[in-house]
Subunit: 201 residues, 4 copies
């Protein structure tokens, strides 16, 4: 089984990413269950604006799209900015919009029988909303969201420290992340045994 | 397999409910697949404010909670008001909040291995948001949301007609609702064969 | 100048309300600027479901509506439940929906030239979203939202203590609340001097 | 008085922009009231990811930021993608995040005493949410949102035509846009006469 983590931090490599650090907890739990985990740091790639799977000259999205379709599990990891998913996360979702009308040989939308979850960090409040926004979009695109398939971290109220700078709450975020990993793996296995079929009409 | 539709219209019986009318399309598709469908019109019951499973004297939530736990599929059907899920839908979600910490004999949160979807009608824009809000909450509580497990209807822009008063777009909403029904049944079956386990720690 | 605080806690009187406690900080700041502050604890009243200004027999909304229209400043104070405004807050907003089409003698929607803000508490993340949801609805209904007209409090990540049980972050929430109060008063005064006019067509 | 429209379409020039077309209705109404309207098509500029006012080498945000600060009125015009504001709109908001802690000589956040509104188009549902998300963020940053300072257009349910391809609903969107323009101008004038002051502490 393969998983892909798309880290949607605003910071290009090699800057440290708080979001990557929390996502790594989930990735480690996936690997312990035998899942091969791939990573994409989206901001390091030239993902053109648009809603088609290939926006042409210089567009680096098609290679990322291939990695999504080669994985049974997708994790969108994003910081919170002004209470929202990052612009990089929204760009990734926009590019996945094309998948709604792309089908496989059986007539299923290409995202069917894949599962997804969310990892979120921030220096301020917004996690539940970020998670709902991304899960809502991914369900629309054709992913299944298993129970409690997310974890998050921030301290509050008001602007606070970053994940890498404060150890408080790490245990909760890690424990929640391990449950997330377990549910992603089980739900992906469940859909492999009993797959969703093409829409009836 | 059993499904429960909780209709969160603001209008007590016997007033006609647009939301019920669209949810009936989904219910019919579920029944064609052999699912037994129960209905609750939440506003007809005295659901006390609070976040515990039994708020005491006169509280009619416990009986609804039993019906949720007797079903593998939950459908929250809600109108859109001022762009949001109805106050009745939010009341229902608040009462389900207690389920986050209630576990079965195996240590699983009681909502695990149940699937859920959303039916939404309105006289104005707001469906994607209503669906994301409810799906986000249900994932938090422990439900799994299958791919594209929703349908909706409204015309726009601005305030427009009600579902029962205009036939435009009914075909799209029905077709989307039939796909929703199929995915709910398949995902519920998948989790019956390959169930989520209790969180690891 | 008059302000009305509608406390949308789920807990009927006389239970202590965390939301009331934070809103009291804002009310005190308003009073120091000469504003008369009224309070409604919405859950103590029988506010019928619906979207008209009077839902008939036993409906206690009309008296609350009168208090809104007698005030230049409205504060919606709400807890966060499952990341959302409370069902009581949504009920209040639904009942204000009727104001969109109610006009005064000059042809202005009745909420015009009134300002509004939000106070939010919770035992978990959700404040930015709660504030956006309520502000978005109130702008739709006809209120003006001054800059930074909100305050909130919760600790995170995951479920944490209530406002009344933990002193951390109170200073930030109070300072933010005093700025909110100042901006509400100034913006209300600005619209009194230079009022919005009836829509052009 | 000056206004700036930031068009957050995903399509670089010279592709036709539906969002620009609806925003032009609002701009025309502003100009009739004597306002000078500037335009930025954000996707045509290299706006670096980040949350500071100048992200360094090649960053074209600082010039846009200057235009915002030279205007009393800001209009964020955005398409809806997967029910959300566009990635370009979120990028613009992220870059404005720095303004929260930037103050003028009087100690006011730099966005104070500026007003803002939203223009939204889409080929599917999502407008109320897009408007709430953007208004919530702008209030946080320090803008004041006047009553009903938005307009939108889409047809539904499901994916439909673009604004430029269908005349239905244009009258409603234009009328709503003219009211928006009037309220933006009046509220900006109100704050010019009676300005918000620096936060009290």
């Amino acid at each position: 089984m393969r998983a892909l983590v798309i880290n949607c931090t605003l910071k290009p490599s090699p800057a440290p990413s708080n979001t990557e650090a929390l996502a790594a907890v989930v990735a480690e739990a996936l690997e312990k269950q035998g899942v091969t985990v791939g990573w994409v740091r989206a901001v390091d790639h030239d993902i053109k604006p648009g809603v088609e799977s290939d926006m042409g000259d210089g567009d680096q999205w098609p290679a990322i799209r291939e990695q999504i379709l080669a994985s049974e599990i997708l994790i969108i990891a994003t910081p919170t900015w002004v209470g929202h998913p990052s612009s990089v996360a929204q760009r990734v979702i926009e590019r996945m919009d094309a998948m709604i009308s792309e089908t496989d040989d059986a007539g299923c939308p290409v995202a069917y029988n894949r599962v997804a979850g969310v990892v979120n960090t921030g220096n301020e409040d917004g996690a539940h909303h970020v998670i709902s926004e991304i899960c809502g979009a991914l369900v629309d695109i054709g992913f299944t969201i298993p129970a409690q398939a997310w974890t998050y971290w921030h301290l509050g109220p008001g602007g606070g420290p970053n994940y890498l700078d404060d150890q408080r709450g790490h245990d909760w975020a890690a424990s929640t992340g391990r449950a997330m990993a377990q549910n992603l793996v089980t739900a992906a296995a469940a859909l492999a045994v009993t797959p969703l079929k093409a829409p009836p009409d």
